[in-house]
Amino acid sequence: MNELRLGPILIRNRFLISIYNFVENRLGIKEILDLEVFYKLAPSYLGIFSCFGGITFFMFTLQVVTGILLLVYYIPTTAQAYDSVVHITNNVPFGWLIRGIHHWGANIMIITVFIHMGKIYFHGIYKNPRELNWVTGIVLLTCTLSFSFTGYLLPWTQLSYWATVVGTEIPSAMPVIGDYIKIFLRGGADVSQITLTRFFAVHIMVLPAAVIMFIVLHIIMIRRQGISGPL
C-alpha cells in the first residue's frame, strides 16, 4: 500500500503509513478516523471574532504546560512560597520566562474569554438550539475566574494575601450562611497556611480537571451542532 486515504486526507509518507498499519492491524481505528466529524471545514464567513474560543483553548494549554513547569520548583508553604517564586524568577534558568508566560497568559486568557463570550452574546448564538453549550461556557468562565483568584494567592505576597482576605470576606456579607462560606473558603477564621494549601489544591487539581471535562463537552457540542450561521 503506497497511499492511505483518511476522509479527505491523502497520506503518501511510507513511515506514517507503516505506523498507521501497525495500529490498524491491532485496534481497527479506520472506522473512528473516517468519521466525518474530524474533517469538517470551517465555514468561509467566519471572521476574527470567531477565533477567540480557539485562542482561549490555546491559552489554556499554555497555562497547563507552564503551570506544570512552575510546579517543579514551587513550594506551597507560607514560609517558602514567596522565596520559591523569587528563586524561580531569579535563579532558575528561563524561570523568568516560564513564570512570565504563566502570569501574562493568565491575564490574556481572561481577555480572550470575555471577547469570546461577547461575540456569542451579541450575535445571539446562545439561543436555541445552543443553550446547553452556553451553560457549559458559563461553567468554564466561572472556572477561569476561580483559577485567577486561587492562583493570585500562591506567590504569598502582601498583595495576594490581602486580595484573598478581601475576596473571602465578600461572601460573609450574606445573611445566615455568609460566615460559614467564608470559613469554608479559608479553612479557618483567618487566611493562613490552610488557605494556601486548599487554594493550591483547587488551582492545580480541581479546576484543571473540571475545565478539561467541560472543554471536551463544549467542543463535542460545537461539532455536533455545527458553527452557527452568519448574522
Binding site: 513547569l69 517543579v72 520548583y73 522565596d83 528563586h87 535563579n91 532558575v92 534558568p93 528561563f94 524561570g95
Partner: protein, 153 residues
Amino acid sequence: MSDEIIKEEVSGKDRRSFLNLSIFISFAVAIGGVLYPIAKYLLPTDSTKGTEGGETFFISTDDVPVGSAKLVRYKNRPTIVVRLKENEVYALSAVCTHLGCIVKWHEDAKELLCPCHAARFDLYGNVLGGPAPKPLPTYKAAVEEDRILIREA
C-alpha cells in the same frame, strides 16, 4: 519537455522537495526553541539549588579582622559574619526582618543596626529595639585554623 520535468521530480531536486525541506527546518527550529528553555529549566545546576541544602561555606580569617564584620553570600542570601574575638565568630542573615534592608555591624555598641529604620539586633539575632518584628535568622559559625566555617544552625 514533459519527460524532463518528470526526471527532475524523480531526482528529488525540484522546488517541492526544497520547500518541504524548508518547512521541516522551520518546524525543527521552532520546536527546538521551545524545548531548549524547558530542558535548561529542568536540568539541575548550582543556581537551581537555591536556598536548600546543608552545604558548609567558608571564608578566610584574613578577610575578617578581629572586631570587624564582613558581608558574604551564604545560600544565595546576604549574610553578615562578625568576628568578636580571635576565635569567637557569629553568622546571621543580614536581611532586616522589618523591611529587608541590609544590617550593619556597629563595633562600639557591639550590635547590628539597620540603617533604614534603626532596628537593633544582638549577635544572637535578638531584637534589641526598633521596628523589627522578628529576630534575625542565625547560622553556626566557627574558626577552624585559618578559615571561618558557616553552616546551618
